[in-house]
Every structure is written in structure tokens, then in C-alpha cells.
């Protein structure tokens, strides 16, 4: 089995709630559960629109529950990190008193023998409520809601936004070509591959020619030149979001390697203010020192970036089109 690289991707969503979800979430902070009139029925949890006809639901929200009846359930023996409880529990459809549609939520009841269709349940409130469906920590068997002793109380202002943060861990196998590319970078060699059929040269790790589908392995490897010309660039002005580490504008440059057709994408030009970067600028590869390489763990293909050589620019007007 190939070595794998672990990547954790975070999805930090912030959602506007709008009038109906907002009022529902605000009420949750006050330990009240609301539904919306839906013809002669009550829909809970409420929606802004009729789920079947998409007509706007305009009636004033009405209080339901807090107790309700289990209409369907399943048992979660091994909860995931995203589940609301960290020990075995039931997920259930719960029709709250006064509502006509069931709400999906957790029931903390110890064992699957303690729950059945028809069971009566009531909410257990979280102490610190922010305006989220998880303000109800779960439901418990019985008629009486449970409120923590150190209750945080309701929101002073209407809740208008909700956060939804998920992190997913991905493990990707490292293709053999990529391993050799990283190994070559350790020797300060930029590795490429030449297609045996069409002769095109690719940088790094592709493994097959995207034009004619020919396989490329160790026999097709070539050393790429380490000097080149900026053909095009963009200046990225970072906006701040969770996980963003950049604070100042930086460049991402396309670099055409000397005596080849290979263009490297999204490269960093070093020691140059973004405003000084220009099409035609001549640059040379900069490798990390042994100490830097050890701390970087060989990630990112190995190059630190590209340093301007000071040679006269290439003034070819077509150069700007060479982005691949």
C-alpha cells in the first residue's frame, strides 16, 4: 500500500437565518420550540415555504411541545464525532405536541429497549444556547423538559446567523511518480516526464500523458531547467477567514522554463514587492537549505520559490499567453 498524506479540511460555514429560521432559533435560546401554520396543520421545525408547493408560509409562528411522541427511531451504538452525544443513543422522529410533522433529533435513553414508537419524550436543554438546533442537547424519556442548573438564559437580541463547522480528514495515497519527484527535490533536481508518444514534457508527477493516454514512469523522466521567465501572474490580496494564514498581498506566477515548453503554475517570486512583478521577468529556482528542508518535511515539491536574476526581461508580446 502506498504512503498516504493526511489532510484535514475545515468547512467553516456561517449562514443567514432569515425571518422564520431566525425566530425559531431565537426561541430555542429561550427554551421555547416554535412551529409554523401549514394549512390546517403545524409544521415543526418550521420552514419559510410549503415543502410541497413552495408557497410562502406567512402565518405567525406558534409554540409547540415541549414534549412529544416518538414516531420512528434507530439506535446509534457507535456515535460519530458529528453526533450530539458521545455515548450510545437513539436518533428519532419526534412529533411535538401541537405539531403535525416530526422533528429529527437525538434521544438519550440508555438502551434500545427503552424506546419505541409511541414513547413520550421531552427536550434536555443545553446550558449555553446560541440559536441552533443543537440548543436542544437531545430528548429524554418522559413529559418533563430538563434544564441545567447553571442555565445560560436566552439571547438578548434576535439570532440572525448560525455557524456550522465541520472538519473532514482525508487520506490520499501518494503515487509512485510523486514519491520520485519529492526524492529528486531532495537532490535539488526538478523532475519532469517526457511522453514517449507525443514528446510533450510535463513537470513532476503526472504518470500518464493527458493527450494520448501513454503511461510514463521512471524511464520517461527528465531533469527540468531551473531558470525561466514569468509569463503571467496575479496578485492575491488575502481576505481573512478561518484558517487563512496570509495577511499581506502576494504573487502567484506562471513560469516558462528555459529551453522547454513546461510552464509551472502558481509559483512564488521571492524578495520582490508584488507591484514589481512583471511579464517577461527572468527568474531562477531557489531550494531550501538542509535545515529548512528538514522542517518542511519535503512538502510542496521542495522549492522555496523563484528569485529574479536581474537579466534583461523577455519582451515577446505573446509570452503572456503561455499559462500552460
Amino acid at each position: 500500500m502506498a504512503r498516504t498524506v493526511e489532510t484535514v479540511i475545515q468547512f467553516p460555514y456561517k449562514r443567514s437565518l432569515g425571518p422564520v429560521f431566525g425566530e425559531f432559533m431565537t426561541a430555542l435560546t429561550h427554551r421555547r420550540i416554535l412551529g409554523v401554520p401549514w394549512g390546517d396543520k403545524v409544521l415543526c421545525p418550521p420552514l419559510e415555504w410549503d415543502p410541497y408547493t413552495a408557497e410562502e408560509l406567512t402565518g405567525d409562528l406558534v409554540e409547540v411541545g415541549p414534549a412529544g411522541t416518538v414516531t420512528n427511531w434507530t439506535w446509534v451504538g457507535v456515535p460519530t464525532a458529528q453526533h450530539p452525544l458521545d455515548h450510545p443513543f437513539a436518533f428519532a422522529h419526534i412529533r411535538l405536541d401541537g405539531a403535525d410533522t416530526p422533528m429529527f433529533h437525538a434521544v438519550d435513553c440508555g438502551s434500545p429497549e427503552s424506546i419505541e414508537v409511541g414513547a413520550r419524550v421531552a427536550p434536555r436543554w443545553r446550558a449555553a444556547r446560541v440559536g441552533s438546533i443543537t440548543d436542544i442537547e437531545c430528548f429524554v424519556i418522559g413529559e418533563e423538559p430538563v434544564t441545567p442548573e447553571a442555565d445560560g438564559g436566552g439571547a438578548a437580541e434576535p439570532v440572525t446567523l448560525m455557524d456550522y463547522h465541520v472538519a473532514i480528514t482525508y487520506n490520499n495515497p501518494v503515487p509512485a511518480n510523486a514519491e520520485r519527484s519529492v526524492e529528486a527535490a531532495g537532490r535539488q533536481v526538478l523532475l519532469g516526464q517526457r511522453c514517449p508518444e507525443c514528446g510533450r514534457v510535463y513537470s513532476g508527477i503526472v504518470g500518464s500523458c493527458v493527450i494520448d493516454d501513454a503511461d510514463m514512469g521512471p524511464d520517461h523522466e527528465v531533469e527540468l531547467p531551473q531558470r525561466g521567465t514569468v509569463t503571467n501572474f496575479t496578485i492575491v490580496t488575502p481576505t481573512q477567514y478561518p484558517g487563512q494564514t496570509e495577511t499581506e498581498p502576494f504573487s502567484r506566477c506562471m513560469i516558462l522554463l528555459e529551453a522547454s515548453d513546461v510552464v509551472l503554475s502558481f509559483q512564488l517570486v521571492l524578495d520582490t514587492p508584488p507591484t514589481d512583478i512583471r511579464v517577461g521577468m527572468k527568474v531562477a529556482a531557489v531550494w531550501p537549505s538542509p535545515a529548512e528542508r528538514a522542517s518542511a518535511g519535503g512538502a510542496g515539491g521542495g522549492l522555496v520559490g523563484w528569485m529574479p536574476t536581474g537579466e534583461p526581461d523577455n519582451s515577446d508580446p505573446d509570452l503572456v499567453n503561455r499559462i500552460m
Partner: protein, 356 residues
């Protein structure tokens, strides 16, 4: 003059479906596409239109389908499209594109490496963002609620569910691409513990890596490329309300409506083979009832999604398998079904037939 807009499947390809592969997703696609174009007897360059189904959340990279284009041979530049759905919906788009009549061939793919991350943690992100996603509503949980609704309504039994799983694994022994296969005793399956009461391990699909490719062609080209093309006599899809709490979980109205829109005569009992994307055993029983399929119709001779479930390709595999039954096995009329969303929210039905 436009070509005739009769459209047929002329070739297919797929990777073996496995729990984990070291192949990249473009690598899997190269294998599936390579088989498909070789069977069709065309080069990648001769294909007029390509459409892929895959999912960034599964692969863990934004615009991951851009990498996948490397497997298509997109030079000279091609007409290409992508759906963030199962390849079965890419197939639908390709069919619509060919209906324009100005091009002759299309290549459709579905691909996914589900082993890259935990599907039970990824799926909740496609759920209702206010009421379901924050609770981590995972597919096995929601499927279990549908299974209980069917059991409580007396429409199915746990024994029937186990029989579906045992049959799927048994017939999968004849499918070299399947992942979960073997002879299993129904009594022993029923004696195992619940994973999500009332679902046991055998009622759930495996986690699979894999890819599938299908070549479509318009009438004259189809006859040129294939001795016995699988003609698309009808294809349609229908979506229902998202939140399963707001649906009658004991019926699949959308599947039936899609089948009717695709031209299925429910009373004709005309389908030889149906490949249904039932990732959970009870879904096969529900789909069979919703489509009114009789005992005459052979269900999932490939083993179905219970034997291999490469997310984003599972539905296209159903279409490829239904086409194989006509192209290679001499069947007259077959049906393929694909689904998307919790508890069979959106359903696609494709009806294929042989023609003289």
C-alpha cells in the same frame, strides 16, 4: 441535417470495485475509459462530448474534476461538462446533449474514492443545513428510519431484507468487479447485531473505490460501433422533498413517476432485468414494489450496490450493467435506476431495449 436522435449505449468500462485502492481518481478513470473506448472501437479524440459525475467532498479537493479531465484525452479541446452528482445524471445530460442532433458520440463517467475519508461524516454536509446537518444526520441513520417505517407498515420483513443481501452477495460471485461476495446463510445474517436498528451489517453497502464509463452514440453511429446497441427508449428523473421527516417513507413516488415519464408501462411486465441503486437492502424491496416489478424481472444480477458502492459511480454502474444485459446477454428490455439524497430523495429511471 441533424442525425436521427435515437440514442444507444454502445460500450462500457469499469474498474474492479475495492475497499481501498492506491490509484488516484484520474487513474481509476483512465482504466474505465480505456476499456469503454476500446470496446467501442473509437479513440478518445473521436468522442464529441464528455460528461463526468464526481464530488469534491468525496475527493477532498476543490475542482477535483479538473484533474479528472486528464483521463479524457481532452486535446484538441473538447465539449465537456460535469455534474456534482452520480454519473447516472451525467449520463442524462449526455443524452440530452445528443438529442440536439449535431454530434454523434458521448463519453460519460462516474468516479469516486470513498476510502479517502469517512462517508458517514461527509454525507451530513449535504443534508438540510439548519435542522439535519448540525446533528450529523448520517445515511445509515436515515436509511434505518425508512427501514423501520416499512417494517412497521408491514410492507417488508427483516428476513426479506436479509434474503436480498444474501442473494446480492451470492450473485456477485459471478461479477469480477464486485467487492462483497460469497454464500451467506440467511439465518446467520439475521442472528448478527444491529448496526443501526433495524439495519444489520448486511443491510448496509460497503465503502468502495471505483469508476465507470459508458459510450453513447446516435443512431447510425451506434449501429456502426456496436452489433447490438442498448437503445435508450426513455429516461427521466424526479426529485422529492428533502427532509425525510416530511415524506411518506413507505413509498417511492418519485421513482414511479420517473419510470412513467420514461415510458414504462407498469402493467406490461416487460422488464427482463432491473439494476436498482439500492444501497440498503430495504430500498430494493421498496423500489421493486414502487415500480411494480414482478417475479419475472431479475433484480441486480450484478450484485447491486450492496456488493459494491463506489459513490458517484454506483448509479452509472447500474446503467452500464443494464446495457450489458442487452449488448452481451441477449436480453430485450432492461431498466436502470439511480438515486441521490437521503432515503431515495431523487430518483432516475432509464429504460433500455434491443431493436431489430
Amino acid at each position: 441535417m441533424p442525425e436521427s436522435t435515437d440514442i444507444a449505449i454502445v460500450a462500457w468500462g469499469m474498474t474492479p470495485m475495492v475497499r481501498h485502492t492506491d490509484q488516484t481518481e484520474p487513474g481509476l478513470l483512465r482504466v474505465a475509459i480505456g476499456q469503454a473506448v476500446e470496446r467501442a472501437g473509437v479513440s478518445r479524440q473521436e468522442i464529441d462530448f464528455t460528461c463526468e459525475g464526481s464530488c469534491d467532498y468525496i475527493s477532498g479537493a476543490t475542482f477535483s474534476f479538473v484533474q479528472n479531465i486528464g483521463a479524457l484525452g481532452a486535446w484538441p479541446p473538447k465539449r465537456d461538462s460535469h455534474v456534482e452528482m452520480d454519473g447516472a445524471w451525467a449520463f442524462y445530460e449526455a443524452w440530452v446533449r445528443l438529442l440536439h442532433g449535431d454530434i454523434q458520440t458521448a463519453l460519460v463517467t462516474g468516479s469516486g474514492r470513498s476510502s479517502t475519508a469517512e462517508p458517514s461524516l461527509i454525507y451530513p454536509m449535504e443534508m438540510d443545513p439548519y435542522y439535519l446537518a448540525p446533528l450529523g444526520a448520517d445515511p445509515a441513520t436515515l436509511a434505518a428510519l425508512q427501514a423501520r417505517a416499512l417494517l412497521d407498515a408491514g410492507k417488508i420483513t427483516e428476513r426479506q431484507m436479509a434474503e436480498v443481501a444474501a442473494r446480492s452477495r451470492r450473485v456477485a460471485q459471478d461479477n469480477p468487479y464486485a467487492q462483497v461476495r460469497g454464500d451467506f446463510d440467511v439465518e446467520e445474517l439475521l442472528a448478527s447485531d444491529y448496526v443501526r436498528d433495524p439495519l444489520r451489517r448486511h443491510d448496509l453497502p460497503p465503502i468502495s473505490d471505483g469508476a465507470c464509463a459508458v459510450v453513447l452514440a446516435t443512431a447510425d453511429k451506434a449501429r456502426e460501433l456496436c452489433e447490438r446497441p442498448a437503445w435508450v427508449s426513455g429516461i427521466a428523473h424526479r426529485s422529492e422533498v428533502h427532509n425525510p421527516a416530511l415524506r411518506d417513507l413507505t413509498d417511492s413516488v418519485g421513482t414511479r413517476d420517473a419510470a412513467l415519464a420514461a415510458g414504462l408501462d407498469l402493467s406490461a411486465d416487460s422488464i427482463d432485468v432491473a439494476e436498482l441503486q439500492a444501497a440498503f437492502s430495504h430500498e430494493e424491496l421498496l423500489l421493486r414494489a414502487s415500480l411494480g416489478l414482478s417475479e419475472r424481472t431479475e433484480i441486480n444480477p450484478s450484485g447491486g450496490a450492496l456488493a459494491a458502492n463506489p459513490i458517484m459511480a454506483t448509479g452509472l454502474v447500474r446503467i452500464a450493467e443494464a446495457a450489458r444485459q442487452i449488448i452481451e446477454n441477449g436480453r430485450q428490455k432492461t431498466l436502470a435506476h439511480s438515486t441521490s439524497g437521503p432515503c431515495l430523495q431523487q430518483n432516475l429511471v432509464c429504460i433500455l431495449e434491443a431493436r431489430p
